[in-house]
Amino acid sequence: MKQLTALQQQGRRSNSFRNASAPLDVNVDGSIKSPATIFWLVIHGLCCLVSLVLGFRFSRLVFFLLFSTSSTPSTTTIYTALQTTLPSSSPATPPPERNISSVGGGTRVVVGRHGILIRPWPHPDPAEVMKAHEIIERVQSEQRSQYGIKSPRAVIAITPTYVRTFQTLHLTGVMHSLMNVPYDLIWIVVEAGGVTNETASLISKSGLKIMHIGFDGKMPILWEARHKFESKMRLHALRVVREKRLDGIVMFADDSNMHALELFDEIQKVKWVAAASIGILAHSGGSEGELPMIRRNDSVGDGKNSQMPIQGPACNSSDHLVGWHTFNTLPFVERSARYIGDRAIVLPQKLEWAGFVLNSRLLWEDTDKPAWVKDLEEVGRDGEDVESPLSLLSDASVVEPLGSCGRKVMLWWLRVEARADSKFPARWIIDPPLDITVPAKRTPWPDAPPELPSSGEKVITIQENTEKRATKSGPRRKRSSRSKRKHTPKVLEEHVSSNHSRDN
């Protein structure tokens, strides 16, 4: 049957029963019908029928078992119809460090059916996987050095922070972004209220070079004052850069921002001062509804304010800096948040620090600096407000736009914070463990009798504890999870009451 279809096919590679009938071949060509050939033909036919029934080629297995194929040399012809493994070489020991060269001359490669070699444990070895990843790492760093940025400079990231509920969330995000930066990094963490163990334990997990500095003063609650305080913290960090003469590119990684890794590649291009576009995600957590959709703003005459939630450099057609895009805060001014945890939209400032990048040499004293940069000591003294790094420059037009002239957004601003008095477990470790044990709805042993007389007291204590929990959860409510929290105490109470009723 197979031979017929093979002949009919104009296509290729018709696999005849050649190998199966190896003993047959010799005789068939001669076309001498001897009893032996007839006998073999009969056996062959029988095997065909059996194969039809079984579903795989039975005939060759029989031939192999009965007649060892001694005519075929060297390479293995062990039949693996069922794809069993082979004792070809001891599986535990891979071939020794031999020269990976082609097979030496003189070995003949045999045409015919070969076994499919499968080792007994065809799964990856973890040590080898690690080695492969090391190879990949090395190849990629070689690629970077060949095609990417030549002579990359160190990145100095300045982050003002303070201990609060959302600190872990924000700081972990920034930390992980910085851990993935492929360049040398120095992370200056300025903490309001002095250095604390909380922050220190969090950032020590990063493995980065960190300078953890304390800054006296408590972080204010009102947003206005807060922005000013943060600017002071950043200036303090800049002073440290100046004192220690750190060399590299200074960027401001606010802990509530989200950075794309392309940003770090892009800032390598800075010469003295540069600005990148920030996406502003002014968010309201309450039921204020979405921000109004971006309306087409035709007031191009001013050219400086647009409805896009972007803050950054604005260029003319020849890619020169002509102005700044700022986020239009006018529609939201009445509804803007005034203090931390306010149920209103938190608005950014006109120009956030995070969008600017400086060459650290601008801050050094006694070096060659361009004429348009002011000395750090003169700025911010006498408590005057430094709104953005532009105050360091006497001429704002020297700022270099990044990200194809501000068109690429690699940085997002979003300030979600909990109320100032919200509590959270220190270092997010719950100690001592929670003291409520709520019985499972279905115990694994359905026949076990329910808790007997002592359960009455348990029930009472449970009720007390749930009441306690209800009061505790009040201030801890975050804006987004408020609705969820309301439900849980109710559920507990329901359950307890049902238990009650059941017992009674």
Binding site: R12, P95, I100, I116, Q143, Y147
Partner: protein
């Protein structure tokens, strides 16, 4: 006397410094010079070193065949057609046969295609015989040497054995009339009937524009460790496995289908070329024949080829040091492929990538239209030039006959 001493002292210094020199290629990407067993010959210019005479055969041997099926221009055997076109307008061509070193016969034997695009070799022996009969009667140069200074392009699966199935090809052997001629073919396997001593192996044709159009920026990090796309089991012709690829491809699948380092499947993704540029190693296992266009693609896209084909002879083997560029794995070592590949030292991997980045390496694998310096056409001519000068022995004495014109299967004797 003293001067000679100084020269002798400094000579080894010069020789040592010129071997394995690390050149800085264009664009300041560090590459390395490639020197095979024949020396640093990839950059040689064959013009002036040899003269080729192109026989004018009637168009039924070339143009008409091509007109019947223009698919011949894009499949992997298109080298025979493009070589003809290249030679017609090349400076090595001479119109005076008496001063020619080599004679070329433009007969397209691999252009009789089945509906699915694969060439049918059943008529090719007769076509070749008919062409040779023509040139031996019309011109005296064949009979002078019985073809020893003639070369033919036979890019089909098993070269001049003219069959796609290996056993039948071995049974046929090389066409008896071509025994003395130089064969330029893609098939190469040591100790095989279908590879003559002195044949030139060439890469299969891969369309250069198509590959250039899929280039991605070179700073895209290479994140795939091992890459392969293709069949593991040829279900139509060898459903149980073990026959196709001598079981090597099936072995790859069974051993590494669960290995996250190996990105292997039978998919036909549209991003095939892009994925190759994101891989460090590309598997080039044998199929029904040991050669495959994957080698060319791997070289063009800078992916280190892992060649799994015992005794294979790779293209331009005397000009390109394939051991230094690719990784060779014996078929019986396939189950340990991951151990082998991960135990290669990183410096060796980086060196191979530098060698692959050498533009002459990539040029040598391509058949661009129109021809460019150092491309595969020129490498073929270089190979032919290296075989010069012909010894005096190739010229037959009068009335001496070596070839047997009636040897071969009966079917071949029929006129084409």
């Amino acid at each position: 006397m003293g001067f000679c001493m100084w020269v002798l002292l400094f000579l080894p210094l010069f020789l040592w410094s010129s071997v394995g020199e690390k050149g800085i290629g264009r664009g300041s990407v560090p590459t390395e010079r490639i020197a095979g067993s024949a020396g640093d010959v990839l950059e040689d210019n064959p013009v002036g070193k040899l003269k080729v005479y192109v026989y004018e055969l009637p168009s039924k041997y070339n143009k008409k065949v091509l007109q019947k099926d223009p698919r011949c221009l894009t499949h992997m055997f298109a080298a025979e057609i493009f070589m003809h076109q290249f030679l017609l307008s090349s400076p090595v061509r001479t119109l005076n046969p008496s001063e020619a070193d080599w004679f070329y016969t433009p007969v397209y034997t691999t252009c009789d295609l089945a509906p699915n695009g694969l060439p049918l070799p059943f008529k090719s022996p007769r076509m070749m015989r008919s062409a040779i009969q023509l040139i031996s009667t019309k011109w005296p140069y064949w009979n002078r040497t019985e073809g020893a200074d003639h070369f033919f392009l036979v890019p089909h699966d098993f070269g001049a054995c003219f069959h796609y199935q290996e056993e039948k090809a071995i049974k046929r052997g090389i066409l008896p009339l071509l025994q003395r001629a130089t064969l330029v073919q893609t098939f190469g396997q040591r100790n095989h009937v279908c590879l003559n001593e002195g044949s030139i192996t060439i890469p299969p044709f891969a369309p250069p524009e198509k590959m250039q159009s899929h280039l991605i920026p070179p700073d895209t990090p290479r994140s795939i460790f091992v890459y392969f796309r293709g069949l593991f089991y040829d279900v139509n012709n060898d459903p149980e496995g073990g026959y196709y690829a001598r079981g090597a491809r099936a072995s790859i699948w069974e051993n590494f289908k669960n290995n996250p380092l190996f990105d292997i499947s039978t998919d036909h993704p549209t991003t095939y070329y892009e994925d190759m540029q994101r891989s460090i190693f590309c598997l080039c296992p044998l199929g029904w024949a040991p050669w495959s266009p994957r080698l060319v693609e791997a070289v063009i896209f800078g992916c280190i080829p892992v060649i799994i084909a015992d005794d294979i002879v790779l293209p331009f083997a005397d000009a390109i040091p394939w051991e230094e560029i690719g990784v060779f794995v014996a078929e019986k070592d396939v189950p340990y492929l991951d151990t082998i590949l991960t135990s290669i030292p990183v410096e060796v991997v980086l060196r191979k990538q530098r060698l692959l980045a050498n533009p002459s390496m990539k040029q040598a694998m391509l058949f661009p239209q129109p021809a460019q310096p150092r491309d595969a056409f020129h490498q073929i001519l270089n190979g032919l030039a290296r075989k010069l000068p012909h010894g005096k022995k190739i010229f037959l004495k009068p009335r001496q006959k070596i070839l047997n014109w009636t040897a071969g299967p009966v079917g071949d004797m029929k006129p084409w």
